[in-house]
Symmetry: C2
Subunit: 453 residues, 2 copies
């Protein structure tokens, strides 16, 4: 059975008089006297179908229409249907068209009541929405966010292809973690304990010594105990790594990626942005950079008590970004913090001399975070490419070089200088799609509380 | 430090006289009298750099060149270097150019001997190659395969975008398997036992009830005990699922995907195919379809003893594909087997009456495999969209509907008729890249024996 020969958005006034077949869901039904108005929805839009008994028709045909009208008027909302109708111009209708209904087949009748309101604008609580995600995703707003996620991934890839990057698929089952063990998710692998990759870090680094410019968009896992709107146990990690490059080179790639995603959302995702009533920020390049030291001084001046050399928390970043926005030192809310203290960065981060912060000598590194307002979107650095330095950094963090030997030994054979970054795709969607929780940019989120649906 | 201002493939004869900076690896060094010839390799190609003491130069400058020549001639193979040189036309050189060397900086000296020969053509055993994968990937042939994998993923996505598909990212940590439990990989998730997704099957199905046309390219896992050239414990699964479609619709999408990948490999990956000395098969559409019944009869006639209604093994498929190729019933080696016995397909497969096979009444299904020669590349079907039928199929297979309730309950709310398929990306690379083992299309393969590197 051919369920459709056209998508709803493809029906135009120029098709007047043409018989079409659409498939979708019962979005609304309204009976007015002898007429019944049905709104059908597919993933491209909605259209009104009017069923009426034709004046010129055999008695038999009139009888069929009466039955049809009776059937349509009783249709439960969200039932899956196939509708045959004739295109009719109607200047009052959205997009100027409606269908004169000729036939309708119920493909799957929905039970009532629905677990979640689909057509209405009433926003259910996020827990209710996520528990009923298959139904929640019938809401145009929910779908719009996931369409923008798809568009973002596409924009990122197209930009990186232009720069000669190879898309890679690195292993997700690994023998040891890249950032230390606390958040590792254990896997039982052919009778052995292994872990899920927290990031493709060590693998993408190794690949710079052959494919040189590599990227990956893939799941990554952290046993994240923080139950915030911005943390997931399974997230989509966008990873870039470049041979013969330093952190300045990869910051340029990153800011262009962000700009490309936003441009793409505007140019090709305008319709989804409209559904969401959201305008992504305007980003002009370069995105401003401030050093850790400058950031620390602003935060200190605002009355926060952060030790020189320590990481910043959300309240500090919230205040910092307010100050920077006021001073015009962000680009649409985005800014880089560069040259972080070496001790708060992962072991593979290249050092960069030292500086006096708050009266204290702090060892720095060639590293950066890209933030949007208070939210860390991406982290990156120049990586160490000298084996001896890596061994020192591992030891300094209480990690054993022996357990990283599978990675370290390749640094003996001409490992190139390299740099890269990782970005949380769902976090990027906070400014791009205007969502308040990264779970809304996820089909079926996984966190401390959620393993189903 | 700026390591490069040009990639090797970007250097053309038209740039004669221009000073350029390249970065890469020492591919070969040859000293001839007072000259030294260095071949540098980056991921785009190789170039010869000739170092000679200039005739017109200060004594100091001549001394610097002599030191440089001494340094270059002692460079261990595969060391990472940065080279400054002046472009010189040379009709004898590949692509007509070489560099007159002016300076060289060793960025990371390689130890010798190397664990694997990079420049040579000697093929090491696959186990040696995979154990030394970071070094193996420096070989142009190894890189070429991964470049073609990247290109294949790109071709697939671009075709599906054109058809209005949304790329989705479904959860990889799941509460229960979709195909039964034997090959599930257990995960320890916040104190609970969960599993790694064997496929996004049930999630992509649920998404057809909102986003309708969805696809995903992502890792999937099976505790695969078969140690063959075609099985991996972690593989890249290409998944497509369409609402309001049946198996004929999605077979059309699949054959176009395969054709697009091969066209793309030829048009944009010609260089990698040349490195591999491989020509992918010519595929004309439609790819021929034979029914299970027809296949069974051919296999039977060839003397194999397969019960009517049973699945085929590799020897049977090998013979079948030989017969079909001889009769011109494949397209470049590809063919569909359709209408499989319902009992050898997963629970979500829609039934399709019955037929007499080998004198026995066999219940059939709206299902297909796409094979290339003896190799199953993809599997798909029309799915069941009626809850009651799903429950029956689960019970028939000894699975409990209760444990699938999180999935089944959404079939109560207008689940659309739908169909789809899954394809092993690495398997598709067997005909596309001409490889003999799916591990060669994988950065760092995972199987029974391999957890590192």
């Amino acid at each position: 059975m051919k369920y459709r020969d056209v998508l709803i958005e493809e029906i135009t006034p120029e098709m007047e008089g043409k018989e079409v077949r659409v498939a979708g869901w019962v979005h609304a039904v309204r009976r007015v006297g002898k007429l019944v108005f049905l709104i059908v929805r597919d993933f491209t839009g909605t259209i009104q179908v009017t069923f009426r008994v034709p004046k010129e028709a055999s008695e038999e045909e009139k009888e069929r229409y009466k039955e049809l009208i009776k059937k349509v008027s009783k249709l439960p909302l969200e039932s899956a249907v196939m509708v045959v109708g004739v295109v009719r111009r109607d200047p009052r209708a959205p997009r100027g068209v409606e269908l004169a209904g000729k036939d309708l087949v119920v493909l799957n009748e929905a039970k009532s009541p629905l677990p979640l309101d689909v057509a209405g604008k009433v926003d259910a609580h996020i827990d209710t929405r996520l528990a009923n995600r298959p139904m929640d995703l019938r809401r145009p707003e929910s779908q719009a966010v996931l369409r923008l996620v798809s568009l973002a991934a596409r924009a990122i890839r197209e930009y990186l292809y232009d720069l000669n990057f190879t898309e890679v698929f690195t292993p997700k089952i690994i023998a040891s973690g890249s950032e230390g063990g606390a958040q590792l998710v254990p896997v039982f692998y052919f009778g052995k304990t292994a872990y899920l990759a927290q990031s493709p870090q060590l693998y993408k680094e190794l690949l710079t010594s052959s494919l040189e410019y590599v990227f990956e968009i893939a799941p990554a896992w952290r046993h994240e105990e923080s139950d915030t709107p911005y943390h997931l146990a399974e997230f989509i990690s966008v990873d870039v790594e470049m041979a013969f490059a330093d952190y300045n080179d990869v910051m340029k790639v990153l800011e262009n990626v962000v700009k490309r995603v936003i441009d793409y959302a505007r140019e090709r995702g305008g319709r989804w942005l409209e559904v969401l009533g959201h305008r992504p920020p305007e980003v002009a390049l370069p995105i401003p950079r401030i050093t850790y030291k400058e950031a620390w001084e602003i935060i200190k001046a605002e009355g926060f008590d952060v030790e020189p050399g320590e990481d910043f928390g959300t309240p500090e970043l919230r205040k910092l970004s307010e100050v920077l926005e006021k001073e015009g030192k962000t680009s649409g809310g985005f800014y880089f913090i560069v040259d972080w203290p070496a001790d708060v960065r992962p072991f593979y981060t290249k050092r960069k001399g030292s500086d006096v912060v708050g009266g204290k000598e702090v060892d720095l590194s060639e590293s950066f975070d890209l933030n949007w307002k208070h939210l860390e979107i991406s982290s990156g650095s120049t990586r160490i490419h000298v084996r001896r330095e890596l061994e020192e950094e591992l030891k300094r963090r209480g990690l054993s070089p022996e357990s990283f030997e599978w990675y370290l030994k390749w640094f003996d054979y001409g490992m190139p200088p390299h740099a890269g970054w990782g970005m949380g795709l769902q976090r990027l969607m906070v400014p791009v799609a205007g969502i308040s929780n990264v779970r809304l940019a996820t089909t079926f989120p996984r966190d401390m509380k959620r393993l189903v649906p």
